[in-house]
């Protein structure tokens, strides 16, 4: 048994505090925005220059100049603001965002993250990820536990080029919630039916 994407999103949301500010990375984390309960009063930042993302626009309210960092059309909440990229990343770098949630290729026991390139195979670029992991107060990685080859993405040490050094606080996978502790990962929570021994966590 594993968590599906929505259940993973809900696990991430359960880590948020009331009235906190959050940046959601592209890929898996984008679905979080749609599942946050209004009662939590969470402020969503998108690094392309908007604070106060609400959700999706109605068909007749779509604006080509109103998008998120994933280049998808969005709507904004009352009290939103727009700004240039220097201020947007200043907010991030200056430690004003409570959480960022990013996808990952590898996370290791030292809290290192790799998520921007596979040498010789694939380069997407780091976008804002290197700034986010060094700036947000708490960095949560949301990813599948195993890669397509069946290898654990929670590693002793990352093998891919790093996005950030000792930056990850928590990892939510389809198998559970983990925190790197320097030697291995503490298991905070497991998805129903998941057995820790099957996860091949580093020793």
């Amino acid at each position: 048994m594993s968590w599906n994407k929505n259940q993973m999103a809900d696990e991430v949301i359960s880590l948020f505090s009331n009235s906190c500010s959050v940046n959601l990375g592209i890929g898996l984390p984008t679905i979080i925005a749609e599942r946050i309960p209004k009662t939590l009063d969470i402020i969503i930042h998108s690094e392309n220059g908007v604070l106060g993302v609400e959700g999706r626009p109605a068909k007749d309210e779509v604006s080509p100049t109103l998008i998120n960092a994933g280049k998808e059309t969005i709507s904004i909440a009352k009290g939103a603001s727009f700004f240039d990229s220097a201020l947007s990343f200043g907010m991030i770098r200056g430690g004003h965002l409570d959480f960022c949630v990013l996808g990952g290729m590898e996370v290791d026991t030292k809290g290192n993250l790799a998520n921007w390139m596979i040498p010789g195979k694939k380069v997407t670029g780091m976008g804002g990820a290197m700034d986010l992991v060094n700036g947000a107060k708490e960095v949560i990685i949301m990813m599948t536990h195993f890669n397509k080859a069946g290898e654990s993405k929670l590693k002793k040490l990352c093998e891919l080029p790093l996005t950030g050094l000792s930056v990850v606080h928590k990892v939510v996978t389809d198998k559970g919630l983990f925190t790197p502790n320097g030697k291995t990962f503490d298991v905070i929570k497991l998805a129903p039916g998941v057995v820790e021994q099957d996860l091949k966590l580093p020793l």
Binding site: G49, V50, R56, A58, K71, S85, R93, V123, G128, M130
Partner: protein
């Protein structure tokens, strides 16, 4: 002395092969469509160095210049969603310098505002830090230098005749920063307005940073990923 030009072709008249151009926009949002088309028509312009977050996307925007083989160097933060760039990069036709997006923004601002270099924690312990000076404050940081350009091509929703600019929604992104950083900034606008029409408090970029302005036309304002709540 007027800053108003007739159209894109006349505003880019003195851009030369081998020069460095900044191009505003995030993905396709807020890109200088008219200037890009004018540059793509000037096939004699080659070996351009482009500073732009995405260098176009999904076959559009600056990808027109890529397809013409007019670009030899690209500074950007993200190439995902831009298969043309990825291909030319892997073939060695375009040299790509990937820069973390916050460092990219700040290096451009620094160039515009006379800051020669700054220390940031972004990139410490990664490939980005290679060869850069490291200094420890509350934590280790690397020294990043200002990023300059010969020209900037940007789009604004509104400009007055002095070049005071106002941007709509998230179309602002890198554009005001690039306007500050380039020697010559060329602005195309949806609405060219009279002096005083943009309230002085609400000017997003003072006109002192703008050298050329023209009324743009035939805007596509393309959407990359249309997502609505009715889906």
């Amino acid at each position: 002395m007027t800053k108003i030009f007739k159209d894109a072709q006349s505003a880019i008249f003195d851009i030369k092969s081998g020069q460095t151009l900044m191009s505003g926009g995030f993905g396709l949002c807020g890109i200088a469509e008219n200037c890009i088309d004018a540059l793509a028509q000037r096939k004699d312009l080659t070996e351009l160095a482009i500073i732009s977050n995405n260098i176009g996307n999904s076959g559009r925007g600056l990808v027109k210049l890529l397809k013409n083989h007019q670009i030899s160097k690209a500074y950007c933060s993200y190439v995902g969603g831009n298969p043309d760039l990825e291909e030319q990069m892997l073939r060695g036709e375009v040299e790509v310098e990937l820069i973390p997006q916050g460092t990219f923004s700040e290096r451009i601002r620094a160039a515009g505002l006379g800051i020669r270099a700054f220390y940031t924690p972004t990139g410490v312990g990664t490939l980005i830090a290679e060869g850069k000076e490291v200094k420890t404050f509350d934590r280790p940081c690397i020294l990043e230098e200002a990023l300059h350009a010969d020209f900037a091509i940007i789009k604004a929703q509104k400009s007055d005749t002095f070049g005071n600019l106002w941007f709509k929604e998230t179309a602002r992104n890198f554009s005001p920063l690039m306007a500050m950083a380039a020697k010559v900034t060329i602005v195309e606008v949806e609405e060219l307005v009279e002096l005083g029409e943009i309230p002085a408090e609400d000017v997003h970029l003072p006109g002192i940073f703008v050298q050329r302005i023209f009324q743009g036309q035939n805007y596509k304002n393309e959407i990359e990923y249309l997502v609505t709540k009715d889906q």
